[in-house]
Symmetry: C2
Subunit: 348 residues, 2 copies
């Protein structure tokens, strides 16, 4: 940490004083950047994930182009089920697909416990290379999917509207769901520990499908495994950020999950999130990603609302409420980042 | 109302005493019923909407087969934009599409103010026929989409993941959005008034896309038009139910929107909804629709949790937290309805 020239995100995640609010953009490397598309035009998505030079290149792009305060390693949450033995296909535009989703106890038992230093070596190498190339300019954020979200992909095979397969599993065969969640949790804990060892200064856990559950089911099938996962990550003082998309309830329980920061979507008022959780965790978020479609004045106005909603003081990491959309103008993202860097000084 | 043999839903919507909790299922006529599929096999979706005999037949099916306490008229929320002049295509499986979505002031100005007695005559005729055939067994529920949700479809042209077009509109050209919302509100008020005049005992307003907005934008672009809409509906004492899917905030404002009942999704605890709004409105909901994939014991257990979450007393209409899914076994729906009818006696 002492070698970092910019450790604002780390400090904010620990609710330590900073002179402004740090900002990064969820899944900031991606299709909205022409520089990314130029690389992507020559390589498919998985090849980019698995080639450290390419992954490092697109990881660093937003630091240079957009001026964000952290670099999130370019990868995908589905490398974990792939390392567990599932065949993964990623077609841009169509999204990731497991042609043979898990649907029996035999298949669950057959899944292997990956060794990150071998099976996910390419991610660790990408982190090592990124760290070398960044040379301490900003910290690197590692990441993984939360067990519930990974289970959902493994069982559905792809994104879904009704999530019928995974719901059939948890209502019809909850024991099998728990066995699978346990396996995913173990694999993910080892994976995130390895990322930290390779050089990430923070890790974020994405629970994209948390919001499809009722509050009771969320506690039973999602939150408890996140708690277990965080407790099993080997780390010194690297903060953990947890993003339970769509979860607007159970905040008193959520702040005890073990994360240093909780990321909230744009339907949760930051003032409320801070009031309910701010004594225990930092808050990340939460500009509606579609605000970036607007003109610069509107973007600044909406970004200021986010700063005001959190209010004065420390412990806020500015971010979007969900991932950036592919047809956003990079100039708008730059305008947002510059504005937040400058304007947030008034809140510290 | 005096001619109805079962007016439980009406009474519950008015928070009047009943000896059990009434139940109906959102969009209960549909693909999960073989009897519906038999009709659908011979006619396309829009033909069914526009042929009163067919609409009445499938409207009544769930009353006979499932034993629900109300019949919701078979139709679609998109008949309003169609009546305003947009060309609508509905392909089952693919969902409804407007091949030429609205995207300019000229197109907004060109939209006509429909005369329900002519342009939506087929819906009114379906209500008249259904009423005759039901002969007072249960009340008929009319419905429409909320202005924000209708605007979203008109601008996007179809369902969306990012809702980029409608968000570009509200951030980039809010004035045009307000002109269009005003037009939709007027048309919908006349339409719901005509449904009530034709014989519906209640009406429900579906705000399916309410949850894609931030709390501030929801107030500005959605809630205020629902308030205006409800105030403009011509009715004697027919209750209005409002379903703002995904809205878990602003409950103190929401209870003042003018609706007699607010329908909540399964991520909102009924206990909380009742505590925050129950002094002003009845609460409808909110079993997770995917619970119907489970075995009968699990369905009963989860249904009981819903009854317990609302607690003892009046003013609860049992329903799902969102629409029923097409691959649900009708036997499970029957089991749910029987259970709620019987078990809920203990809560009154």
């Amino acid at each position: 940490m002492s070698q970092l020239q910019n450790d604002l995100v780390i400090k904010a995640a620990k609710r330590l004083p900073t002179d402004r609010t740090p900002i990064w953009i969820m899944r900031q490397a991606g299709r909205y950047l022409p520089e990314y598309r130029a690389v992507r035009a020559k390589h498919d998505f998985l090849t980019m994930c698995k080639t450290p030079e390419l992954a490092a290149e697109v990881t660093i792009q937003p630091v240079n182009i957009i001026g964000v305060d952290a670099a999130i390693i370019f990868s995908d949450i589905l490398v974990i089920p792939e390392a567990m033995g599932m065949h993964l296909e990623i077609t841009e535009g169509k999204g990731p697909v497991f042609p043979s989703p898990v649907n029996s106890k035999e298949e669950v038992v057959k899944l292997k416990n990956p060794d990150p230093s071998k099976d996910l070596r390419y991610v660790l190498d990408a982190i090592l290379l990124t760290k070398k190339e960044l040379n301490g300019r900003v910290p690197i954020i590692g990441f993984a999917g939360a067990p519930w979200t990974i289970l959902t992909y493994m069982v559905e095979g792809h994104g879904s509207k009704s999530f019928s397969k995974v719901k059939k599993l948890i209502y019809g065969n909850p024991e099998l769901a728990h066995i699978l969640l346990e396996k995913i949790t173990k694999a993910t804990a080892a994976y995130l520990s390895a990322q930290i060892e390779a050089g990430t200064s923070l890790v974020q856990i994405f629970d994209t499908w948390a919001g499809i559950l009722s509050p009771g089911d969320y506690q039973m099938f999602a939150m408890r495994y996140v708690q277990q996962l965080i407790s099993e990550i080997k780390r010194k003082d690297e903060p953990v950020i947890y993003f339970p998309k769509g979860v607007h309830y159970l905040m008193h329980e959520l702040k005890e999950v073990g994360a240093d920061a909780i990321s909230v979507d744009w339907t949760v008022e930051l003032e409320k999130a801070r009031r309910k959780m701010g004594d225990k965790v930092a808050i990340q978020g939460n500009l509606d990603p579609t605000v970036l479609y607007a003109d610069t004045d509107s973007i600044k106005r909406e970004a200021r609302k986010v700063l005001e909603s959190f209010g004065k003081g420390h412990g806020h990491i500015f971010n979007l409420g969900h991932g950036i959309l592919p047809d956003i103008d990079p100039e708008n993202v730059k305008a947002l980042v510059s504005y937040v860097k400058e304007e947030s000084k008034n809140f510290h």
